[in-house]
């Protein structure tokens, strides 16, 4: 079941010598002239349902065969549409604390692994170790083009697998040491092939294809091919990987006191637009939660939305209690809290739906969101239709780790929390924190030992910033400070959390420190510019030119050319 592509008999012998524990499972592929041809032959002729194809310069662990069998069982049960798997891949989303798209479950001369433990959907994999679902590939008629050589076959096989409707995955079980001799120059030479571009033009509709070795821009020289059909590798790699997976549910929860019905209607309309655009990979549902007793829902607002009323024993700021109430009352895998003046952008709903479907359990999903300064054209701040909204600060999804620096870098609406995380926040935290409830939840989730961050850096939420009515703009900071005191007190006294707070501060460059450096550079630039414009500098210029001429730093011809230009 392990097929080794060996360059020679001696390299095969060496491989065997290094993998004696796997001897019974190894078959050597000798005399291969084209990896493409080999793959086609293996898919067509090998009787086994699956095989693992490896380079002869990899070192596999002693229990590799055992891991392989376990992996196939896992794939069959949880990723039933799998077609191909590898140990290094470029993903259609960003994962881990580094929010990387390139995942490495291996070690090689370029570096070590950068993630652990998760099976993830991939756009393409590296070919050093590949697990092929031959049965599915035969069923779906996967066939590679008849190219020569030993480059790009892994990208082509990945694309053909997705094109055939099968999933490509990155799997930690395939980890190894790869004594790779390949380098960026070899890859660049191979991908400059006109044939490769022709292949991409007939296969994908993307003009840029991400690979482990960087982006490749597809060259188009025929107008008819610009708006061509073909797979969208970002979306279709997600669709194929997640096909047949258990459908996850997401509660889009809007906490409200019904004080701004027009803004609330705007929020709910956009939630409905999002749900309509999300398609079927995951199940989104809209919920309103409130503890307002005499609230009246405006006509038609509640269509396709479920209203849940809480009855809290104590009066007061209930914003965090409503989070707990929602998590306890709604059966959903994920919770997405949207303020009742925010709005959702439905444009990338399907992508999010697919990412959630592929996400490991207990993932926390970060999304892009943006402030919008809102002004009412009519002067009526309760009339949402009268607002003119100006885009302001964008919060990139991948910036979440900066929240460990002491200030919040991800708005509440830019995160999807697993239900289990919300339910594991101690009751005393819900009872005492109010204003920083978003930051508290983010920190708790990020510091949970089972946290797996995923970032989808697309614009998903608009955050309304108005002259009045936002707690964020309150001038009296008493409630904010009081809540921060509660938050800090809880965070440093929860022993079950990880020690991520002790990450070196210098690795979390905050916006303010970047701005401070920029200001310093601008100050120096200004100083240099004032020196250059000073009379003394101008008067002494001929002397400096003369010195440059004498030292040979300036040629006479260059000087004449400069003088002519004056």
């Amino acid at each position: 079941m392990i097929h080794v592509v060996a360059r020679s008999r001696s390299s095969a012998d060496l491989f065997l010598q290094n993998h004696l524990s796997l001897e019974a499972d190894i078959t050597f592929e000798l005399g291969t002239r084209s990896y493409f041809e080999l793959l086609n032959r293996l898919i067509k002729e090998t009787p086994e349902p699956w095989i693992c194809l490896v380079h002869d310069d990899v070192y596999l662990g002693r229990d590799f065969a055992h891991k392989l069998s376990d992996l196939v069982r896992t794939l069959e049960s949880r990723w039933s549409n799998w077609g191909l798997a590898g140990n290094a891949a470029v993903l259609p989303m960003q994962v881990g604390y580094a929010a990387t798209e390139v995942v490495r479950y291996l070690s090689d001369p370029h570096g070590g692994p950068n993630l652990a433990g998760q099976i993830l959907p991939a756009q393409s994999i590296d070919g050093n170790v590949m697990l092929l679902n031959l049965e599915a590939m035969r069923r779906k008629l996967v066939r590679l083009p008849p190219f020569e050589g030993f480059h790009l076959y892994d990208i082509v096989l990945s694309l053909e697998t997705v094109k055939a409707g099968l999933g490509v995955l990155a799997c930690p079980q395939l980890a190894c040491w790869h004594g790779s001799k390949g380098n960026q120059q070899d890859f660049n030479r191979a991908r400059s092939s006109h044939t490769f571009d022709e292949y991409l033009l007939s296969t994908v509709r993307n003009k840029i294809v991400q690979t482990i070795n960087g982006e490749h821009e597809v060259q188009v020289d025929d107008a008819g091919l610009i708006l061509r059909s073909g797979i969208d590798i970002q979306i279709d790699s997600l669709k194929t990987a997640t096909a047949g997976r258990e459908r996850k549910s997401i509660a889009i929860v809007t906490r409200t006191q019904f004080t701004r019905p027009s803004l609330l209607k705007r929020t709910l309309d956009t939630v409905k637009a999002f749900v309509s655009a999300a398609r079927d990979a995951a199940h989104f549902a809209s919920y309103l939660v409130t503890d307002a007793t005499a609230a009246v829902c405006p006509d038609g607002m509640m269509k396709n939305t479920t209203l849940l009323r809480a009855n809290f024993p104590h009066q007061g700021d209930s914003r965090y209690q409503l989070v707990k109430f929602a998590a306890e009352s709604i059966e959903a895998d994920y919770f997405w809290f949207i303020d009742d003046d925010d709005w959702l952008f439905p444009n990338e709903a399907e992508r999010l739906s697919l990412v959630i479907s592929s996400a490991p359990a207990d993932s926390i999903i970060f999304l892009g969101c943006q402030h919008f300064a809102e002004q009412s054209l009519s002067g009526d701040f309760e009339d949402a239709g009268s607002f003119r909204s100006t885009p302001g600060k964008y919060y990139p999804a991948a910036n979440f780790l900066a929240s460990l620096s002491g200030s919040n870098h991800t708005p509440f609406c830019g995160q999807l929390f697993p239900r289990r995380t919300l339910l594991s926040i101690p009751t005393k935290v819900y009872d005492s924190v109010t204003y920083y409830e978003d930051y508290m939840t983010t920190l708790f989730a990020l510091l949970s030992t089972n946290c797996f961050p995923i970032a989808v850096d697309k614009l998903y939420v608009g955050i309304s910033v108005r002259a009045s009515g936002n707690t964020i703009t309150e001038t009296d900071r008493t409630k904010w400070n009081s809540s921060m005191s509660e938050l800090v007190s809880h965070m440093v006294n929860l022993p079950e959390l990880s020690h991520m707070l002790s990450l070196p501060v210098h690795s979390l460059r905050s916006d303010s420190s970047v701005q401070s450096l920029r200001n310093q550079i601008a100050e120096r630039d200004h100083h240099i510019s004032s020196l250059l414009n000073s009379t003394s500098w101008k008067i002494t210029r001929p002397i400096r030119v003369l010195i440059e001429l004498m030292r040979g730093r300036l040629r006479l011809s260059e000087l004449v050319r400069r003088l002519r230009k004056l």
Binding site: V220, Q234, D269
Partner: protein
Amino acid sequence: MGNTPLNVQCVYGSAHLHHLQNVLIPALKSTTTRPVRLLTTNYDPHSQATLESGYVDGVEVLDVSNRSAKISGFAENHNRLFAGHPSGDFFIIVNPDCIPQTGSIDALISRKITHKSTKSVAIVEGRQWPFEHPKEYDSLSLTTPWASGAFSLIDSAFYKLVGGMEEMYFLYLEDVDLSWQAWLNRYSVLYEPAASICHFSAGPFLRKDLVSSEQYLSLRNFLIISRKFFGESGEKTALSLLKQSSDRDLSELAIAEYFKDYRERVATTYWGKRHRNVKILGLNRFHEWRKE
């Protein structure tokens, strides 16, 4: 007049079906006190995803079958809906990915009816939210050089006069063309900020790894509209602008297709006719930026 249904035209694709059913149609009722007849058609004649005709959420939905041989363009579909269904003095066009806001259609109608001008109003454009187009409009007269086809009221007599929207474009710039025809036929084009519509379409959502039809067709159609309204010199300027554009490859391909399939079909009716609102200030820029 109050009981005569107002025709609202919407051209959709299969991806818009859920949005139409769950969001746009339920929102329509609150946009006007008039009865609404929503005329819809799927631009893909082979698609199985079509709306059901009938009364839904207080709106009369009339889905018109598309009998074209292949996918038909924005203008062609709207012209067909208009020709097949008498519309009264005016009708509304709305994009299928929009959410019209409360009272928005009444705001368009009110502006059309009450506007004081020597010129008849051909088009009243609604305000898109949250990404409002930053193009100029006159704050006193509300005139604007061109109106977006995403959400507008159109005068039926004017539409008949000019023969509807230019079908050659397929998609993009037919709304600028229609607006320019209005100005050159002594009509006016207005912008009504009080008529608000959610339209989540703008730069932030363009994917750099894909060529959108908007990017390509806008370039090709820029050549068509430049020649149609500014003749040989307009075409020359447009070619020069395309050659300076950031995406040279895409521009060259658009130029090639224009010369091969479109140039000879561009009408010369408007050559030599001028109006201060009919202007090209850059590549696909037909307006000054709003000063606010």
